[in-house]
Symmetry: C2
Subunit: 274 residues, 2 copies
Amino acid sequence: MSERRVSDDSRNDSPSSEGRPQGHGPKGTGTRNSFPRARSVREPRVSSQIQREVMQLILDRRLRAGAPLPTEAELMESLGVSRNSVREALKALQALDIVEIRHGYGTYVGEASLTPLVDGLTFRTLAQQGDDTGALAEILQIREVLEEGLVRRVAGTLSDAELARLEAVVERMEEAGRAGRPFPELDREFHELLYASLGNALVPQLLGAFWTVFRRVAGVRGWTDDPTPDVTVRRHRDIVIALRAGDVEGAQKAMADHFRGIEARAAQESRGVG
Amino acid sequence: MSERRVSDDSRNDSPSSEGRPQGHGPKGTGTRNSFPRARSVREPRVSSQIQREVMQLILDRRLRAGAPLPTEAELMESLGVSRNSVREALKALQALDIVEIRHGYGTYVGEASLTPLVDGLTFRTLAQQGDDTGALAEILQIREVLEEGLVRRVAGTLSDAELARLEAVVERMEEAGRAGRPFPELDREFHELLYASLGNALVPQLLGAFWTVFRRVAGVRGWTDDPTPDVTVRRHRDIVIALRAGDVEGAQKAMADHFRGIEARAAQESRGVG
DNA sequence: CCGCATTTGTACGTATGTATG
DNA sequence: GCATACATACGTACAAATGCG
């Protein structure tokens, strides 16, 4: 077990493979394995190729999320590959939420959500724990920049109905706070609702991804949830008040204050744990 | 390595040389693997479990990117699962860039980069092409909000050396523009360099991810690259000029103008293609 | 340069759990 | 409960890539 060193590999396509379309050795009596076609001349990896083919299939047929995909058997038949390769490719696509696999039922087009981003960022944050000044603070800074800019853009465009809904969420926060219950989901709902009028479907997903990473890391590290719920409620209420007044600067400042509170809490917890 | 979990109660291993046409029983009634533990009564999925175990292994041993991971054989030994399951789990982790697999060499800890986000967003954008008002505009809006907020934060903190580097990039842009060469990489370098002083490693990666998605989608759709390079150069120069003057508002406005140009071009290309 | 060992990649066969009808 | 369709998992054999002596 010596040290297998890592050197940056160039991204070339390894022109070595002679491209023999012959099937790999099936010991014994190869039954129906004698066709030389499938898989054209030179290809990097069968599994990667299948990934691309499945994605291309979805694009070509314009399949939407939830649409059924060919079964594993059909894919190995139509692509001329083994079940193993098909399964590995589908597993990779499943990790990207490009396909969804239901045991005993079938394979379907996935939502292509930001779940992979959540998984990757969570892992990366946990792995870099003792590294530098904390990957969590970086995520928080991006959330802050995003939301400060976003709240400016929705400041003038919110309808009374939307403002009322935001106030209702704050109200429920206050109830939960009085009852001593934490209200993480309400916090998420508030920020999601806040930017709904933008019509940008990616905004809530991206913010939600960062939010989820924060929650998960906090959970793994055993942080207490929101030691000062009343302050948190007030921060959110200040945002709504500024928005109702049409005060763009005030809304951005209220949002900044909100994040200042989150940062302070995160820093405190980090110190506590070491 | 250290933890070797071998069934000590192997009464008779009988190295199965040949003559057993019988199928191989899966877990439970296996030949060698006869301990009923490991994966107790009800558990979600073996492959998913392996994914978590490998991630936990990286976290527990505090392995950094590039560090070698156990071989497939070692993993199937220590986890008591088949190689197929190990490979499927590793393929999923590879898709998330949590592990890196090198054919004929070994498996290593990955960079946990935002490659999965790029892949997912690219696919999603291409898949939603005829859907609504274009997922590309949503990505562009997020980039815009982010960069407008970020440029405010670096406005006062940039050193002369950093400003000089930015000016050098603009200079190279101008040269390329005069020579009729497109300069996508210089554009990327500019925005990356601009936020280097923040010390937030996630910022350039996230912006780079959005940038790459934009480029890839544009490439697939066959867009021409930058019909007005001189205007693009001027936008970047305006940003640097404002930053040198310490003009925070001016820098943000220049950034906004820059994105207005990109949006206009994207809208035009979309119309052109239909 | 060649052969060898190690390790990942692909393939086939089979048994079993799971969901649907 | 049964039948069917499908994903899940195990085991094995061989191919291809990489590194080393």
